[in-house]
């Protein structure tokens, strides 16, 4: 993939996640910070499917943005074909792992499997 395409994705994920994370934080503030973290409240949030869907989208957006940012920093720190390939594939793997791990939490909780 060309670097300009990757960076367009980087900027796009940044802008989209700013909007969605703002909603995520508003949920904490409108319900009262401590109350919103109570078990029942958190479960209710997860079971509200639009919110769970939003969490999933935030998870994907931030994983892409964060691990691409890490890839950029690492590519600038050290060069060499083996290192650069390892960094690129390593970041994709880490991104996939985080998405899978986070999706498991969202899916199981929102489906009432807790």
């Amino acid at each position: 993939m060309r670097e300009s395409v990757i960076m367009k994705i980087h900027y796009g994920t940044a802008l989209a996640s700013v909007a969605l994370v703002a909603v995520h934080i508003l949920f904490r503030l409108t319900q009262g910070f401590a109350e919103s973290l109570q078990y029942e409240s958190v479960i209710a949030n997860y079971e509200f499917l639009p919110y769970a869907g939003m969490l999933e989208i935030i998870l994907i957006l931030l994983s892409i943005h964060g691990f691409n940012g890490l890839r950029v920093i690492l590519l600038e720190l050290k060069q060499g074909p083996t290192f650069e390939k390892s960094v690129s594939y390593g970041c994709i793997a880490a991104m996939a792992l985080i998405i899978l791990y986070g999706s498991r939490t969202i899916f199981m909780t929102s489906m009432g499997m807790v």
Partner: protein
């Protein structure tokens, strides 16, 4: 001339001669042909209000240690030969006055991000090769020199779009100040990127797509993070950071 004669000539000319002060120069010394150790040599030299760092180094070479390696030529910020790190910041030695540094000790080192040949002299091979890589010339099949083809006319507004970037003297200060170049040996660098914009912005040129393809790789234009250090050290007002962002605008779809 007798001392009386000198006094008279000074009075008649009306020139006020500044009192001479003394400065300590700490000059980086390194000769890979002898050993791999580097050190700083200190020299105390007199200076005037108008003495430049290059004047001071040449004074040291003339009277105290002729073995210091330094590259210089025009002494007027036109040739781009005497780039070095002066008190930690890349600058042209001929364009930096000692009196403006406000320091009793001046540390002079070779520019970073360039291989050291000896002492203050660095190798420019990599910078010139990245400069060549971006095709720093007008690409146009219709050539002015071919008979029967038209003359390329440009309005003053057309010229204004790139003239700033054509002031580059290839001194390498921007590459030396760049934070990405501090660690990335493959980065194309602000000098070459600003020159890519210089030709892309020229309405006689038809090589935009070629150049954009060259700089759109993993160590290309997107490794610039707009820290702007390149523009802050440029001695000719080229403002490479501006050129790079305008160039990136084409890749991001902000410009046609």
């Amino acid at each position: 001339m007798t001392s009386e004669g000198l006094q008279i000539s000074k009075e008649e000319s009306g020139i006020i001669v500044s009192p001479t002060k003394t400065i300590t120069l700490r000059i980086f010394r390194y000769n890979p042909k002898i050993n791999n150790e580097s050190k700083f040599d200190e020299f105390k030299i007199p200076y005037q209000r108008w003495t430049t760092v290059l004047d001071a180094i040449l004074e040291v070479k003339k009277h105290l240690d002729h073995s210091i390696a330094v590259r210089y030529s025009c002494r007027q910020a036109s040739c781009g030969s005497c780039g070095m790190k002066i008190n930690g910041r890349p600058a042209l030695a001929c364009f930096t006055k000692i009196s403006e540094l406000n320091s009793d000790v001046i540390t002079i080192e070779p520019m970073n991000n360039f291989p050291i040949i000896r002492d203050l002299a660095v190798g420019f091979e990599r910078m010139f090769s990245t400069h060549k890589k971006i095709k720093p010339y007008i690409i146009n099949e219709e050539s002015e020199i071919n008979p029967g083809t038209k003359e390329f006319l440009q309005t003053p507004e057309d010229v204004e779009k790139y003239i700033q970037f054509s002031s580059c003297i290839k001194c390498g200060l921007c590459n030396s100040a760049c934070p990405t170049m501090a660690t990335d040996s493959s980065f194309v660098g602000p000098q070459a990127l600003a020159q890519a914009y210089r030709y892309v912005a020229d309405n006689r040129d038809k090589g935009k797509d070629d150049r954009l393809k060259i700089i759109d790789d993993s160590h290309g234009i997107f490794r610039c993070h707009f820290a702007g250090s390149c523009s802050q050290v440029c001695p000719k007002g080229v403002d490479p950071a501006m050129g790079i962002q305008l160039l990136r605008g084409y890749l991001l779809g902000f410009r046609d």
